[in-house]
């Protein structure tokens, strides 16, 4: 299997007005690899994502990208002005490099084909997240960057969403950088976890990280234990709306 390195960050540091936000961070993402960035609020997750995307310049260090890398980005939230009438279809067409023929396909892929003619501001949190994911996919990305994709989605919908992300990796053969503040739901779908608190506390496979003293210290032992051993005991699944859908669920 070809696992080309898509992006590699070396010695990234970031300072705002003398305040150290990120310190000496290095990691890389390969094709078909899902890397999850976890850490408490204020750990610098979003700052690091912005550096990876080229939105912020690091104070020190550099990010090397595979040349011509196509990046799909799903921002943490989209503040939709009610004053702006714009349909989901139009929103997707506005993507730079969007291919109109792809709109139906990406909407179907994220399970949002019914939303095509809806107005953007009328969508619920979960629906909007799916539309944002569709917008990222329409770039036919080699690297997908998802900043807290499960925000505003209930717990069962989240499990569905992470499964969708796993499917996307298989279908598009892309690398994925995922930002999350909880490990338990993303564990199954993650190849590598980077536990961030201004610096890299620990990193490695999810099981490994969940037992790491640095992780336990950061998240609290009790909390970490209950989260790390979290497994689904359901005999059914839920879609992003929380509705029950058919389908086997591996326990």
């Amino acid at each position: 299997m070809n696992t080309e390195t898509l992006i590699s960050a070396r010695g990234i540091s970031l300072q705002f007005d003398q305040r150290q936000v990120l310190h000496d961070i290095s990691f890389s993402i390969a094709q078909r690899q899902i890397v999850t960035l976890i850490g408490p609020n204020g750990a610098g997750k979003t700052s690091l994502v912005k550096i990876v995307l080229g939105l912020t310049k690091p104070t020190f260090g550099q990010v090397a990208r595979k040349s011509g890398l196509r990046v799909g980005y799903m921002p943490q939230r989209l503040q939709v002005e009610q004053s702006m009438p714009v349909s989901v279809e139009r929103f997707l067409k506005l993507a730079v490099n969007a291919r109109s023929s792809e709109i139906d396909r990406v909407l179907k892929e994220v399970g949002a084909e019914d939303l095509k003619d809806s107005q953007l501001y009328s969508l619920s949190g979960g629906e909007l997240q799916r539309v944002l994911l569709a917008r990222a996919l329409i770039q036919d990305p080699q690297l997908l960057v998802l900043d807290e994709p499960a925000q505003g989605v209930d717990v069962n919908g989240q499990a569905e969403l992470y499964r969708l992300i796993d499917d996307i990796r298989d279908f598009h053969n892309c690398g994925i950088l995922l930002v999350s503040h909880d490990l338990h739901l993303v564990m199954a779908a993650t190849d590598e976890v980077i536990c961030l608190n201004q610096h890299v506390c620990c990193h490695g496979h999810p099981e490994q990280v969940s037992n790491d003293p640095a992780y336990l210290e950061l998240f609290g032992k009790k909390d970490a234990e209950t989260l790390a051993v979290y497994t689904h005991q359901h005999n059914h699944s839920h879609d992003l709306h929380g509705e029950i859908v058919d389908g086997e669920h591996d326990v």
Binding site: P75, V80, S83, V86, F91
Partner: protein, 265 residues
Amino acid sequence: MMSDFIVRALLAGVLVALIAGPLGCFVVWRRMSYFGDTLAHSALFGLALGLLLDISLELAVIFACLVLAIILVLLENRRELSTDTILGILAHSSLALGLVIMSFTDNQLNLMAYLFGDLLTASNRDIAWIGAVVIVVLGILFTQWNRLLTITLHEELAHVEGLNVIRVRLLLMLLIALIVAVSMKVIGILLITSLLIIPPACARMFSKTPESMAAIASLIGCVSVCGGMTASWFWDTPTGPSIVVTASLLFVFSRLLGLNAGAAG
């Protein structure tokens, strides 16, 4: 009898309303109405400077608006003060500075005409200026429309997708600076922002796409200009304020229509 000056006034008003529709939509979508006010105030500063230096007033006004727009884009990237505060400082200091400079010039300039508009005295030269600006603005709007929409929806997403966000944002500010500069004659410094925000606000509830909102806003702007001029003709009311009052009445009317439709639905 339709006198020449009425035709010129109508033409000037309608031309400005035409581009105020789509540009006003961006002002509403991006919550920039205070920015429009600030530009308008700096227009008076440009005017005073033009009088003092004895150069073309139109050029001086456009220059002042453009400089202010660029200063704002540069200051917006700093964090110590909010945009709101910076706008307030720029708006009022440029207005005050304009008035102070004006006191040094020994002109018979009627300040009221610039504060509230003086559409009925529009000359052929004014029409030529407005016409030229309208052509430039429409041309840029047509070619950059999708980019402007993209940065309005999410700037960082647009940036990641490869758009030069700063350049597009600067372009939008320059377009708004241009329309403020030319609409001073039509509606006056103190009322310019209303021509930018009231028509899109009326158009909002009749629109399902950004384009239809822009087109309906243009139409409502044109109707306001015609209505205001008619009122001004029959009742001898000041033209600029009459246009704004007409637009405001249309807004109230559109809200009532909306309420009705809401109740029926």
